[in-house]
Assembly symmetry: C2
Homo-oligomer: 488 residues x 2
């Protein structure tokens, strides 16, 4: 099959690219920086979306859709936001093509120039808060708890599939509240949902924390984050939840009358996770043989393969197993294709990360058993046909737990305290991972450390223990440790 | 509340706009031609998506995501396609903004001009077939049965919410096959899915047929359509399924080796339905009091209202009812808000089209009953508390059927045969609806009739009876009747 992938030890970056390509998750498109998400990758995204969407809805959020395009002037209305987002972006300047008068193709019709350029949304705070102005009049209209699933575009110079692409897919929640307290609670509620999703569904342990001023979302008062740790010791920002204060309400003049009939600016949050999560999932679990999908995110967590090829008896056993698994809420596919040999199929589904593989062969059936293999540890067992559904159900739970525990062990082994800058640098170069160190609280020091080591402050952990200490770079006094890491 | 809406008799067009606005379905945005779909409207779209998506998946289709942007040159590669789509579209010419050197805002950075302009996809055949070239090598790679849920953009000059907007949301299926026969079967399979969805879920009867050459999708060999009939006697094209022949395969050089190891061009289909369906749903069922949502498309088909306000006993009855309905697979919401009076809530939920309203009041509870009202006929019944879940379940089915039967009766009463042009015009002006008439088969006549009457040929019905006749305009010989109508 020529599907061998580069090992992590040899070249981690190439290993990642190989998995994305050879597990048929995504590829680059003809348009610079924009990806094609292939069916296998998109199936995982659909699982992520469905789970997150239900968690948002259970907590009272509803979905809506706002325009793809944003008038250029909107970006300038919030001072910090414009600094952050009015840079590399796709600008629509014309609305018509015409036949090339000198040739065969089409050209932009110079008469169809827009009065004001439109930007493909890099994020939607501006257009949404411009809309909320008409929706919010009174405290009775609050809170507004709205999310949208959307594509956004940031003109990235260096792209990597899932991790950083010009167009990407995400959800962006935009909520409006009558008090700062309620908005902050919302910000933290969402952070908890993100952390729960990462840990219980993606099996990816995360650190919850708040960003430094330097790493904040452009326009936020506070940015909360969940940070995962990849197998190469680099951190991945996996989701962020922003308390926006009254910044966008002021920029777009969104006021409400409170219960005392006084006008106030509305309080806001925004929050998002994106297709980047797929990159996080890949780098948390996969091995040198390919992708490993946590069972809860696998569109089909079980694949059944006839050995060496299908016949009536195997078909019946397979169909009965599929039906029984379905009654347990487990989706299974039967890879019946008689043109391909079992060895090819085994390799293919291993590469594609299917959590459980069931082999049904006549020799085993004569003994009343089938072969069940788990993707994570590659252990194989021979299980009586009648006990297989129950066994598979438990095995899927075991795989889900094992992936999380393994990732958590790795993560916990890669949080290292450093009290001087030599140690700090040594840890980053050898063990990698998070370095827990004192920092003097200035952006200047933060930037200097990043310049010297490529490590940024990933977050100040929530409920961070307070302790007297000295900044690892400057020796200036510090009251708490923060988490540094090199990051994607 | 000042929520009264214009009656259909008074001004049908304004009635439609009023419903869209006052039932909080959608509104125009700050960006010309682009809509905001509000949570209530988006909830209906989510119901449509979920149902269609499951129908696509049951028939072997998978989802994927292709880029938002298309290189300008791609549009020129298929001769008919460029005529149809390289016109009014959003053109991205630059990829960066910069601070206005003369002012406070931001301007387009002239140095960031793209080498080749990019078009926001008006439809994705070109970028997808450019991608398929690498995916398809052999007959073993076929069929490819791929769909995407996406936003697309056509720079419309005159827009109407849901019916015609610059940005809209849709699904677009793009399949690849090894034979023409298989591709045509796919085209018709999808047409059947669309018709089934329209009739069984939207309760909107449709005519299935094929478009004339003049009304074909740009680049198709044949376009199949489902056509609904709105309450003003105008037709609505609700979904189309295209047999694309080998046109896009040839334009993008997509070949496969067949079983005899010979190279052939791949056969293609594409098909789509969009947020326009929401417009069709509104205009098929709603009345002068507001929206009517078919139960199968209502995110919450039942609303429960305490009369006159909630108390412990009412809360208990409401929660028990919600739980029992849930066990029957029926979602219900409890509009408990003590700040609003029942009359306000009744009017609000009527306007928003909730199929079943349950009133729980102390006086009724003393008699062991609750009040259940249906939105379509406005009939009210008093039902024993214990029997309510079962009653509601049956009532929802009855409403779904009633809406379909009523719409079908209207539609059937609005198909009129016309054998001369005077009758043809009279029918269009008086009764409206579909006019079944002979046509000589030329585009010239078709265009002339449209010019004279505004009626276009909606379709040549599938399995159309063959009969000798004379064209209603020219008197030239004709072998079958076709369906004319004024249309959205």
């Amino acid at each position: 099959m020529a599907k061998a992938i580069t090992s992590r030890a040899e070249d981690y970056s190439q290993w990642y690219n190989d998995i994305v390509k050879k597990a048929s998750l995504a590829e680059h498109s003809a348009v610079r920086g924009c990806m094609v998400i292939k069916p296998h990758g998109y199936g995982i995204w659909e699982m992520m979306k469905a789970q997150l969407d239900s968690m948002f809805k259970e907590t009272g959020h509803v979905n809506a859709a706002f325009p793809l395009l944003i008038p250029k002037s909107f970006l300038s209305k919030e001072a910090d936001h414009v600094e952050g987002f009015a840079k590399e972006c796709a600008v629509v300047t014309h609305h018509r093509l015409m036949k090339d008068p000198d040739g065969k193709g089409v050209v932009v019709d110079p008469k169809a120039k827009l009065e004001e350029e439109l930007i493909i949304r890099p994020t939607s705070e501006t257009i949404i808060w411009n809309t909320y102005r008409d929706w919010i009049k009174s405290y009775r209209d609050l809170p507004l708890l709205i999310n949208q699933w959307a594509n956004v575009m940031r003109w990235e110079m260096r792209t990597r599939l899932f991790l950083r692409t010009s167009e990407f897919f995400w959800q962006e929640g935009h909520t409006a509240h009558s008090t700062a307290k309620e908005a902050i609670e919302e910000t933290l509620l969402i952070l908890d949902i993100y952390a729960k999703f990462a840990e219980e569904y993606m099996a990816m342990p995360v650190m919850k924390g708040v960003k430094t001023a330097n790493e904040r979302f452009a326009g936020a008062e506070d940015t909360y984050t969940i940070e995962g740790l990849m197998q190469d010791g680099k951190a991945l920002q996996a989701g962020t939840s922003h308390f926006l204060g009254q910044n966008f309400a002021k920029a777009f003049n969104v006021k409400f009358s409170n219960a005392d009939n006084k006008e106030e600016y509305v309080w806001a949050t925004s929050w998002g996770v994106s297709t980047r999560l797929i990159g996080g999932m890949i780098m948390t679990h996969s091995d040198d043989d390919g992708l490993i999908i946590p069972p809860k995110l696998a569109p089909n967590p079980v694949v059944i393969i006839p050995i060496p090829k299908p016949n009536d008896q195997i078909d019946v056993v397979a169909q009965e197993l599929i039906a029984k698994l379905k009654s347990l809420g487990i989706r299974a596919q039967y890879d019946r294709d008689p043109k391909k040999r079992p060895g090819f199929k085994f390799a293919e589904h291993e590469l594609r990360g299917i959590p459980v593989r069931v082999g049904i062969g006549m020799r085993d059936l004569d003994k009343g058993q089938i072969e069940i293999a788990r993707r994570d540890t590659k252990e194989k067992s021979y299980i009586p046909v009648g006990g297989a559904p129950q066994y598979i159900q438990e095995l899927l739970d075991a795989i889900q737990s094992n992936l999380f525990e393994k990732a958590k062990k790795y993560r916990d082994e890669h949080i290292t305290s450093a009290d001087d800058f030599t140690t700090f640098k040594e840890v980053l170069e050898s063990n990698g991972g998070f370095v827990s160190a004192h920092w003097d609280g200035t952006t200047e020091t933060e930037k200097k450390i990043k310049e010297l080591t490529k490590a940024s402050i990933r977050c100040i952990p929530l409920n961070n223990p307070q302790e007297e200490g000295q900044c690892v770079l400057t020796g200036n006094p510090s009251k708490e440790r923060v988490l540094f890491a090199k990051a994607y």
